[in-house]
Amino acid sequence: MSTALKPKHQRLVLVILALVVLIGAALLAIWGLRGQASYFYVPSDIASDPPEPGRAVRLGGMVQEGSIQTLADGVTVSFVVGDGEATVPVRYTGITPDLFVEGSGVVADGRLAADGTFVADSLLAKHDENYMPRELEDMSEAQAKAVVAETTAK
């Protein structure tokens, strides 16, 4: 056979075919996992398909600005978690993580109460991808103050 491939090229074709099949299988598996492998539901998932009250679910989203309130007992906080489309009110009793602040991400384990409030058993803080020195943030605040001082009437 004069048209036969060199063994080296035969092996190359075989390996490439095997890789294509493998990547196809992996993409199928990932497609199948797209709803299941997520670590938490976002508020719009809860709004569109509310889990039955009492079923354990995990909720993740952003703590809305100005929504954190400490209740009268001093250890229970209530806040609102949103994802830009829907919001869910959350209640949690216990110590909050250091990074739990308004405008930051949060992941809560818990269940939906009958009144639509999410009662959390545990709270995890989610960090975003931005890293910024504290000094720089202070600097911009100081600069902002300086600008305010300069622009206000003497």
């Binding site: 080296k8 092996r11 190359l12 390996v15 095997a18 890789l19 493998l22 990547i23 992996a26 990932i30 996992l33 797209r34 492998a37 997520s38 670590y39 938490f40 539901y41 976002v42 993740g60 993580p97 250091d98 990074l99 602040v101 930051s104 991400g105 992941v107 545990s122 709270l123 995890l124 803080a125 989610k126 960090h127 975003d128 991808e129 931005n130 890293y131 910024m132 020195p133 504290r134 000094e135 720089l136 943030e137």
Partner: protein
């Protein structure tokens, strides 16, 4: 390319490359770590704990880089039957596993103060743990294959190295495909969400750890080659003395 197939030429190159990579890597890593740990500022939210970044992120990159090395070397072994590729794949497995373990350990230590937990089963953390287990399986397979030299068993190891590479893009994309506790990538093609005050020591650290990784791989490749040579020499000596014995037995 086939010039590098010659082990003698490789050994000549590796003899001076190994100490060069190890020493320059050590110098860069210790310099960048001193910069990152003592001089770089604290983060606005995480405070001092951000300093674990300088070990965690390079380890994660090299953990994935180790398997990428295994996959490329396995491909070269399977298609071109390049003996040095087999040795390179073997040599990259242990340092890759060590960096993956460092990444998981430092990530866990970092997760406790920032997220409030040592471990969660989200996409990024789980796929990274799978990578560590893949390394363990690869090492066990390579060890078993070594018993029958570079042959069929070695090919099975190479196929496993190639198939396992599917996990590397999954680790990379896990924070995009699925909701996860781990934040998305800070450094993407040409863009960085990390302030330059953290980024420079981080990049120098990553370069230093990569040089160390390269030095360790070369040193291990030299050790594997030396082992082969010693074994071959022993085999020759055993055969020679056996032949001698049979000759003596015939004359008596």
């Amino acid at each position: 390319m086939h010039g590098f197939a010659n082990p003698a030429r490789f050994l000549r190159l590796a003899r001076w490359m190994t100490p060069l990579l190890l020493v320059s890597g050590l110098v860069l890593v210790s310099g960048a770590l001193a910069w990152g740990l003592f001089y770089a500022p604290a983060d606005r939210l995480m405070g001092e704990t951000v300093r674990i970044l300088y070990i965690h992120v390079p380890s994660a990159w090299l953990g994935m880089g180790g398997w990428t090395t295994i996959a490329i070397a396995s491909l070269v072994e399977l298609v071109w039957r390049h003996p040095l590729a087999t040795i390179a794949a073997r040599a990259a497995a242990v340092p890759g596993a060590v960096f993956t373990f460092i990444c998981l350990a430092t990530g866990s230590i970092w997760g406790r103060p920032t997220w409030g937990t040592w471990w969660v089963w989200d996409g990024r953390l789980t796929s990274m743990l799978v990578l560590l287990f893949l390394y363990f399986a690869y090492l066990a397979l390579a060890n078993a294959a070594q018993k029958d030299g570079i042959g069929a068993g070695s090919r099975v190891t190479a196929i496993f190295g190639l198939v396992g590479a599917i996990n590397v893009p999954i680790i990379n994309r896990s924070v995009i495909w699925w909701n996860s506790l781990h934040q998305p990538a800070s450094i993407t093609m040409g863009k960085s969400a990390i302030d330059p005050a953290f980024l420079w020591p981080l990049l120098i650290c990553a370069l230093g750890f990569s040089l160390l990784f390269g030095g360790v791989v070369l040193a291990r490749m030299r050790a594997i080659l030396a082992n082969f040579q010693a074994e071959a020499r022993l085999r020759r000596r055993a055969m020679a003395s056996e032949a001698m014995a049979s000759v003596e037995g015939a004359t008596v």
